[in-house]
């Protein structure tokens, strides 16, 4: 509790994620350099940057899919350490959506959504199914609950993955390039779902190159390059008046086509 308070001047109930002086190495490769970041509850963050700049590494440190070596990460008042109990409780509060969906192919759509709530939250099967159907409806996957992931299109699979994460009723949602593996015609259906979530006030940290999405919903855009945060700001200033040369060159490339 003490660490949380000292991590920020604001009350812990307001702060969702704090990263202070975070460094991470893969072997000798320095993947994250002195990352300082604070995300308030209800805030929508878009993280962008060239490929290999450490965006995935950064958000994967938030739910300990990757281990950081230096610095503190506090998520929803819980410090991320080796303590497996802490990690488990952080993971059940943080939903994650992956580039490749990672739905469980041997389970139906409904079973995909029911698995974690029944195992981790220990809610009854009936209750879990009700929640699952509620969220499947919300991501507009009608009548597909008893199909297997392989029978759905990429866009549908990604929306199921979002519903699966939401079924744990997480306080924070992480997205790692959720539309990068999708055909262009399916990108919009996934982005629409995400915009809807954003408009409901879900705390989101989203790695994406969809700058339209960033302009529409982000409270802050963060630009990363070579493992460090180069620049951050509200979308208006970020896009219209970028400070750093690296940001300008990145935006030139990404908005160019």
């Amino acid at each position: 509790m003490e660490t949380t308070l000292s991590a920020s001047n604001e009350a812990p109930s307001v702060i969702a994620i704090t990263m202070r002086g975070v460094n991470k190495w893969y072997g000798s490769y320095h993947a994250l350099r002195d990352i300082n970041l604070s995300v308030r509850h209800g805030e929508r963050i878009v993280l962008c940057g060239p490929s290999g700049s450490g965006k995935s590494t950064l958000i994967r440190c938030i739910n300990r899919l990757e281990e950081h070596q230096e610095g503190d990460i506090v998520v929803d008042g819980i410090e991320i350490t080796d303590n497996t109990r802490n990690i488990d409780s952080v993971r059940s509060e943080v939903g994650m959506v992956f580039q490749n969906f990672n739905l469980f192919p041997h389970l139906t759509i409904l079973e995909n959504c029911v698995l974690a709530p029944t195992l981790v939250r220990r809610v009854t099967r009936k209750e879990a199914e009700e929640t699952a159907l509620h969220f499947l409806e919300k991501v507009r996957i009608p009548e597909q609950a008893h199909k297997f992931p392989g029978q759905l299109s990429g866009g549908q699979q990604q929306r199921v993955a979002i519903a699966r994460a939401l079924c744990m009723q997480p306080r924070i949602m992480l997205f790692d390039e959720p539309t990068s593996a999708l055909d262009p015609e399916m990108i919009k259906e996934v982005l629409d779902t995400m915009i809807e979530l954003a408009n409901e006030g879900t705390t989101m940290v989203c790695v994406t190159h969809e700058m339209g999405f960033a302009q529409a919903v982000a409270d802050r855009v963060i630009f990363m390059d070579r493992g460090e945060i180069v620049e951050e700001g509200p979308p208006k200033t970020f896009f219209n008046n970028p400070q750093s040369e690296r940001t300008r060159s990145f935006l030139g490339k990404i908005l160019g086509h």
Partner: protein, 362 residues
């Protein structure tokens, strides 16, 4: 897409088979001659076997004097089939042994029904059938007279050792395969060494060490029945091979699967039990069934350590003067029993493989 393939395939197949036959057997005059000679030889052999096995065979029980006229003497089977199947098991109680065998076979068949493929299903089936088998064979309760394991023999003994090996071996194989991905290097290295050691030894050496050598070094109070020592040796052998199969299956599961499970907050056992292992086991089902078939055939090795299993019982069936000339018949009969078990298992494996291909192409 599907329309096109389904239109082309049947024609291509029918034409293809004839074409293939013509090309591979009658491509030039030398091939044609060779094919005709081989065809002639196999027809001749087939006909002689048919004459021996059926046309000139003697079936009457208790009539060794009728045999010897060039046909098979199946009377050795019709006279001594009880000895072959049940060996030394008390004659009045052999219905128990027969029923016990039927229970095991029924349990195997039920396990093969995809609806029971869950852990719960398998535990239920074997949790009921295996104790029933032991109760029927061993007796001592419900008015069944006790029969010590030394008298268990023939087919029930073979099935007992086989079922125990699989039931103990599968969980061990899973644990070994998981252990070899442990974050602790000591566990990984030790398990790796054990698996490699066992896999580089012939089964016979392992059976001999477990049944004969190890008891020499153990204090008398610690030695237990030979059947159990053989089961332990067999289980070790099976588990080491099967763990490699499962390890391959674990590697075939995309790393994103475990990551997604982890991100949802599932702990290690939940991730393995609900996400990774079901996929790994499903992916390796055909290989696993192959391993089951091989292990079944390997049970015939038990004869060398002096247990009275199916093969040993068969030997004793022709081990009396009046039948001693008819070992051929007994071995053909035993081969048939092994064939029925092994062939139906591998056919089932093939069926599963096709079914899996169909569902992954979905």
């Amino acid at each position: 897409m599907t329309v096109i393939t389904s239109q082309i395939r049947p024609n291509a197949k029918a034409g293809g088979a004839r074409e293939w036959l013509r090309k591979s057997f009658f491509g030039n005059w030398f091939d044609a001659c060779l094919s005709i000679v081989l065809l002639f030889i196999s027809l001749k052999l087939g006909w002689s076997f048919l004459q021996w096995a059926l046309l000139n065979a003697v079936w009457t029980p208790n009539a060794p004097e009728l045999c010897g006229a060039g046909g098979a003497c199946w009377s050795v089977i019709s006279t001594r089939w009880r000895l072959i199947f049940f060996g030394l098991y008390p004659a009045d109680e052999q219905w128990r042994a027969a029923l016990a065998c039927l229970i095991i076979v029924a349990a195997v068949v039920m396990t093969c029904i995809p609806r029971f493929f869950t852990l719960k299903g398998i535990l239920m089936i074997w949790g009921v059938s295996f104790p029933s088998f032991l109760l029927l064979m061993g007796g001592g309760y419900f008015g069944l007279s006790p029969v010590p394991t030394e008298r268990w023999s023939g087919l029930p003994l073979t099935l007992y050792i086989y079922a125990s090996t699989i039931l103990l071996g599968m969980p061990s194989a899973i644990l070994i395969a998981l252990g070899r991905r442990s974050p602790y290097p000591a566990i990984r290295i030790i398990l790796g060494l054990v698996v490699d050691l066992v896999r580089s030894l012939p089964l016979l050496t392992i059976l001999f060490s477990f049944s004969l050598v190890i008891p020499l070094f153990l204090p008398a109070q610690l030695t237990f029945d030979k059947v159990y020592r053989v089961i332990i040796g067999f289980t070790l052998f099976f588990a080491c091979y099967q763990s490699e199969v499962i390890r391959g299956g674990l590697q075939s599961v995309a790393s994103g699967q475990e990551e997604a499970a982890r991100a949802l907050g599932l702990n290690y056992f939940q991730r393995m039990g609900h996400v990774v292992l079901p996929q790994a086991l499903r992916n390796t089902m055909p290989m696993t069934i192959n391993q089951f078939v091989v292990t079944f055939k390997d049970t015939s090795f038990i004869v060398v350590v002096g247990l009275f299993e199916l093969l040993a019982a068969a030997k004793s069936a022709y081990g009396v003067p009046e039948w001693s000339a008819y070992s051929k018949e007994v071995y053909v009969f035993i081969a048939l029993i092994y064939f029925v078990f092994s062939y139906s298992m591998s056919k089932y494996g093939k069926y599963l493989e096709l079914k899996m291909k169909a569902s992954s192409a979905r």
